[in-house]
Symmetry: C2
Subunit: 354 residues, 2 copies
């Protein structure tokens, strides 16, 4: 028996339209379905394959189970000149965070900086999605989120009270690609574990340990262990701080209150996310800043390399190149994933992706 | 021959007065000398012994060499409702950052959040010093700084273009100690490497690599290698981002422009630091937030531990306990350090510390 392991290539539009169809079919208004679909497809377009269309079956399942509000009233419930708290009304997280970023940008334009915290939100895809619009408007953005399942114990502990709580930061550059850091506070994001499982691959040592403290390599056994934080106690500290800034501060779930959306499709997750936007124009001439970023990027890229290292990468550079390549050639989807999406299409009675 | 290795205990006031005397002697106005001295002694009081009075001889040397402006005009050079850029006029960093925190707090009181970036600043001690005042005023604070010497190459590189660029975050709690994260973006601080060398011990794998990219375990060969960032490329990304937010954004030194203050006492360092202050009251009732932090702290502290782990610590908890202990018993200073300070006192013609 032979297996075709070559991925199937789909265009951004093809993928986006398919996702929109599925989301509309399960009850999202057309405009909302389109917005979420474009953001999900953008995730795949930049190679964030653990956070794009791979999540569609789970989102659909949750929407059908009544765990997502498809007719939400996303609104600012509290604000000052430079901050706002947004109640997402249990909408798709992509809609809550798109709105929150717009509010933060508007505040930054006036006050120099804008911070928007969201509660009653949901999983919103890869953190870096939400720094792109600020970047295109000469703004720096920082994004903090509480993950939707606890996979991380405090340092020295065994009880998974923390999630991978990711951070994204986007810094505009001039002629260079923006510097975009998008990282979980664990060595590996849980989405990457899921992607490994889907591809039938083993995890490298150092990603997870089991409850006996032994390396866990089989991603299909992920539920039997927990992720490891970066820099030991430092990553634990970062995960905790991000959770406090994105969860507790916004009145959103954190610690024991976090709903594991892998095992519960109904309970509102009360997901918390925070976004901070900084308007470069408030600090000086944006072009001067962006030229300084370009210089730094050149200095780093052209600096002396360790033996065997072919290239020094800037944060976000590989995603940027993937976005360019996948825009030109198509987004590669593993055949197993395409099968899942075909099954989903059949179930929903919509046209399959390919 | 026997050596007395027992540390000498000094009170906070004793230490603070001594530092103030020394700084006044080399030209700082009384009020400025007092302010810097109290912050430096506070560093020792919380156990940040690499960033307190241990730095005094170096500061004095730099001031005497003309590398610090003792009559600075620290001023806001650009501002909006929620941001300000402060020009430190090459003052002691402690003065620049104290002022910056005050400005940020004032802005946060009005706008909900305040961000102040400083340029033409200098080394200001441990990052966590500057989150304490906001904490006492029901405010969250984040602090980012560019380090004053580059010890870190980009991931895959050998050229030390980055510093350990620290991050501090302070989160007020209720009856519990505030959660305070204060971390460099490298696995080990350079001081820990020096301590290992002094004790004739090997370093664990993961602290440093040599110029072939191989683990460097002998701390006596430290000059032949580099520190490793936490979480590999992630820590490199964090160090870079912190440098962009604290340095480049403020028009301060970053990358190749960073002045190594260990080898140059004269050139203005143009150090950059940024502080972000968030007023809890803008998000809701501060007591509700602080009670939620307390609950989270209890959940974490009392959660199931790995075999052999005696206690699960919260970030900042060990510093907090040291602050309490040292306030009661005195701050322990190694005898060698006291000798150095006695020599300095003799040199400056001031009364010795003990």
């Amino acid at each position: 028996m032979t297996t075709n392991t070559k991925p199937i290539l789909v265009s951004f539009d093809q993928l986006s339209v398919f996702i929109a169809c599925a989301l509309e079919r399960v009850g999202l208004p057309e405009q909302d379905a389109d917005k979420v679909a474009r953001l999900m497809a953008l995730a795949d377009l930049q190679g964030s394959d653990g956070h794009g269309v791979i999540r569609l079956p789970q989102y659909v399942k949750r929407i059908l189970a009544g765990g997502i509000n498809t007719r939400p009233n996303i609104r600012v419930v509290s604000e000052r000149a430079a901050i706002a708290v947004v109640d997402g009304d249990n909408a798709m997280g992509h809609l809550v965070m798109s709105h929150s970023v717009d509010v933060a940008m508007e505040k930054a334009r006036q006050a120099g900086i804008g911070w928007v915290g969201a509660r009653a939100s949901n999983h919103a895809g890869p953190a870096s999605l939400y720094v792109r619009k600020p970047i295109e408007n000469n703004m720096i953005a920082l994004y903090f989120a509480v993950g939707n399942a606890n996979h991380l114990p405090p340092w020295g502990g065994m009880e998974m009270l923390l999630s991978t709580n990711p951070i994204a930061v986007g810094i505009p550059a001039g002629s260079e690609a923006a510097v975009v850091l998008d990282m979980a506070t664990t060595v590996a994001a849980y989405g990457k574990v899921k992607a490994k499982a889907k591809r039938g691959e083993q995890m490298p040592e150092g990603w997870m340990i089991d409850r006996l403290g032994k390396p866990l390599l089989d991603p299909k056994r992920a539920e039997e262990g927990f992720l490891l934080p970066i820099g030991a106690h430092k990553g634990y500290g970062l995960a905790l701080i991000v959770g406090l800034l994105a969860g507790t501060l916004n009145g959103a779930a954190m610690g024991r209150d976090v709903v594991d959306f892998n095992h519960d499709d109904v309970t509102p997750t009360n997901t918390g996310q925070s976004v901070l936007v900084i308007d470069l124009a408030a600090f000086g001439e944006p072009d001067v800043f962006k030229a300084a970023v370009d210089r730094l990027v050149h200095d780093i890229r052209n600096s002396e390399r360790l033996p065997g290292v072919e290239r020094i990468w800037l944060p976000g550079e590989q995603s940027h190149l993937k976005r360019e390549k996948y825009t030109a050639d198509g987004i590669p989807l593993p055949i197993g994933q395409v099968s899942d999406l075909t099954a989903l299409a059949f179930e929903l009675g919509i046209a399959p992706l390919v």
